[in-house]
């Protein structure tokens, strides 16, 4: 007889996170054990977020679209250094090269590149920070000195 329905991963992870936080942590005495326990509960919450969405794929697709959107303007207004930035297959490499080129060759094209890439990269950064907030909070709680 097999189980007709298994519990889902999210429920198991959430159960572990709660157990660590509410039952195990209050019992721990040593400084390092409390710190590790706090971070362990936060890691489980972070892992739950990873299960809910393939963020890597989403970020890559968004960035690839933004880089593609820049191609016509760079082909039209940019010199050889600018055009070389778009040869990379990876949108992360291409976006990196574009932002470096914008630092080295200030002007309207550099401003345009930043105007397109910065809002997207900032939004991705903010979303990642929100996902990692339980880890940040646990880390900060233990950085007060001893």
């Amino acid at each position: 007889m097999t189980l007709p329905i298994q519990p889902d991963i999210e429920t198991v992870l959430e159960s572990c996170a709660r157990t660590v936080r509410e039952i195990l942590l209050p019992e721990l005495q040593s400084e390092w054990a409390r710190y590790s326990g706090d971070l362990c509960a936060a890691s489980l919450e972070y892992a739950l977020g990873l299960l809910q969405e393939n963020r890597n794929r989403t970020r890559r697709d968004q960035l690839a679209a933004a880089v593609d959107g820049l191609r016509p303007k760079i082909a039209e207004a940019g010199g050889a250094t600018w055009r070389e930035t778009l040869l990379a297959d990876s949108p992360f490499v291409a976006a990196s090269a574009l932002l470096v080129a914008a630092q080295n060759d200030p002007g309207p094209l550099a401003d345009h590149v930043r105007a397109i890439l910065h809002p997207l990269l900032d939004a991705q950064l903010d979303a990642e920070m929100a996902s990692a907030m339980p880890l940040f909070a646990a880390f900060a709680r233990n950085m007060v000195g001893r």
Binding site: W32, L39, F92, L99, V100, D122, A132, F136, F139, N142
Partner: protein
Amino acid sequence: MALEAQSEALASYLEERLGLPAPCRIVEASRMAMGQSRAMYRLTLQHPREPGSADLQCEHLVVRVEQWGMLGSDGHDEVRIMRSLCAARYPVARVLVDEPSGALLGQPFFVMEFIEGTSVFVRESLDEYVRTLDRLHRMDPVEAGLDFLPLPEGPRGAALAQVERWYDVYRSSLLGEPSPLVEEAAQWLRNRAPESERIGIVHGDPGPGNYLHREGRLVCVTDWEFTHLGDPEEDWAYLIAMRGMGVMTEDRWIDTLRDLVGVHLDRGRLRYWKALNLFKGACLDQTALRIYVDRRNLAPNLLAIGTAVHLSALKRLANVIRTS
């Protein structure tokens, strides 16, 4: 790594290296939550007062174990720096044993004296700390025995050497793809590297949490793994923008440093060094994620540093460089 598993071997090793009467026994070993680049243990080592004596005494020690290159540093220079500064009568814990091979604990480690004190910040300890940091900056590196550290080359060398040092650390720990915001920041820092007015000994991680005080007096400056020869403004910016950020506002910090030690900070240069320190943080945090993902060390603090702490530094870095 749990130190308990190697307790007997470590006790025998310390017995021999410290020349203590046998038998030595570790009666207490607790991991300290402070410090991320090294695993730190408080150790109580018990041994006979004299050979053959039943009368026992204890040594209180701190063991500092490397973590697979965590945060882009190793203990080799750290030990030399601590020993040199100790000899120059700077307030540093005495290093008693250096074990660089990794044969005993799986990672290199060193043992230092335990100094009674606390790193919990109190305002009363700050003035003496600032004066002590300023004293470090004004020490002659040659007289202090630190002339083995590389001297930055050229007027912009102090800044550029740090940019490239941390950029290399970042690139060597990269997981697949580069971060466009880190790459942009590296180029911003290269293009705007300021000329240094003087070169001195830079602590590299100064501020509350990295010194011990007792009864209002500073007893010891800690955490020497990032120390190098460079521009002292790098340290002041770190103090203001990182460890001392919650102590007072930037304006008050600038006034305090001027009044206490006569350091006049230019806001444009301060902004550069703040950006460099945030860049350094973002880059060295990447090493934690690499070690975690490679499963060399699965401690959850590495996940926190490699994700949340890295992202936080990157966010602040982006804000600083865009306010030009």
